[in-house]
């Protein structure tokens, strides 16, 4: 449920993602091979894939290339003081594609190559979305301080 909440825009969408993920899990439970990993990791993967499918229905992952590498600075202490729900609200304000790339990169630990394969985009586009996410979050979190 926590995973679905990261990708969904609201709790209702997270519930839909979770129900679809469980249905998919029950339908393909016979294909589960415990030698490839734990069932928790398998279910985690199903939920992430279902979340990305949900995001793909809402967003169009266009081709964007990062021209200049720019890393905006965000004071970590601000984030430390914020509640998890407040941080989640800021992340949900990101555009869907940028939202997906940021969660995959920052929370799931995916590389740009893996994100590009997962979303069907190029690595440059994945980097561009991450840069856009950092810019938007810097503005939002700076406004929180002010």
């Amino acid at each position: 449920m926590r995973i679905a909440l990261r990708y969904a825009k609201d709790a209702q969408a997270a519930g839909d993602i979770l129900s679809h993920a469980f249905v998919k899990m029950f339908r393909s439970i016979k294909n589960y091979d415990n030698s490839k990993g734990s069932i928790a990791a398998w279910l985690h993967r199903i939920v992430v894939n279902e979340s990305l499918d949900h995001l793909k229905q809402q967003a169009r992952f266009g081709t964007q290339e990062l021209e200049t590498v720019e890393e905006p600075f965000v004071n970590n202490q601000i984030v430390e003081k914020m509640h998890a729900e407040a941080i989640l609200l800021h992340i949900r304000r990101l555009p869907p594609a940028t939202h997906a790339v940021f969660v995959l990169y920052a929370c799931e630990g995916y590389t740009h190559k893996a994100i590009a394969q997962q979303l069907g985009i190029s690595e440059g586009t994945s980097k561009w979305h991450l840069s856009e996410a950092r810019k938007i979050l810097q503005k939002q979190l700076t406004n929180v301080i002010e």
């Binding site: 449920m1 926590r2 909440l5 990261r6 709790a11 997270a14 519930g15 839909d16 979770l18 129900s19 679809h20 469980f22 249905v23 029950f26 339908r27 393909s28 990062l66 590498v69 890393e71 965000v74 004071n75 970590n76 601000i78 984030v79 430390e80 914020m82 509640h83 998890a84 729900e85 941080i87 989640l88 992340i91 990169y105 920052a106 929370c107 630990g109 590389t111 740009h112 980097k127 991450l130 840069s131 950092r134 979190l141």
Partner: protein, 206 residues
Amino acid sequence: MNRLLPYEQSIATKLDELPPNKLGADMADAIWADISAQLDSDLPQDGNNPGPDNPPQGGMSWATGIKLAIGTAGIALLAYWLTQTNKSATTPTPPIPIITERKATLVDTIQQVQPVPSANPIATDVPTRNSQTPNTPPTSNNTALQPITTDSFRLQVTDIPTSKPDSAVAPINAPVLLLPPPGKKQRGTQGIQDSDYKFVRGKDSS
């Protein structure tokens, strides 16, 4: 760009602290109801029809049975129709009788019967037929169509049915040859004589 920033690590840690029951009990029940409904839609309704992800379990569904029954009935009807069509095609149509030929047959038959001299009154009472020559072609006003009369039996051959095919095949002289023996038909009930009807005046009559 390829490294995780400190605040991003903090965000990831904060998001992991999200309570999983944030949706509430009602939302969880709705999610489970949705899951149950989607899984139930995959189940076969009659218990024999395998779902899309289930392996076939053998047996025949009712829909397949209905299709087979309809196909069998169609084949049976087609076979019946073909049989009936072949029967009607192979049945010979009876030849259309020609009136002139039948009249000639009648005349010839009568002529074959008449020359035999006999004491039978039937043979002697047909002079008009006997007087005709055998080679005379029959016509519609031929004398062969005149009524034949005997003492006790009268045969009228004025109207020959033309639509019955059997009349052309069967010999027309059959009625002439199979006439019942002439004789006076007895009237009344057999075994009762005229004397039985004798009236006797009673004694008490005035």
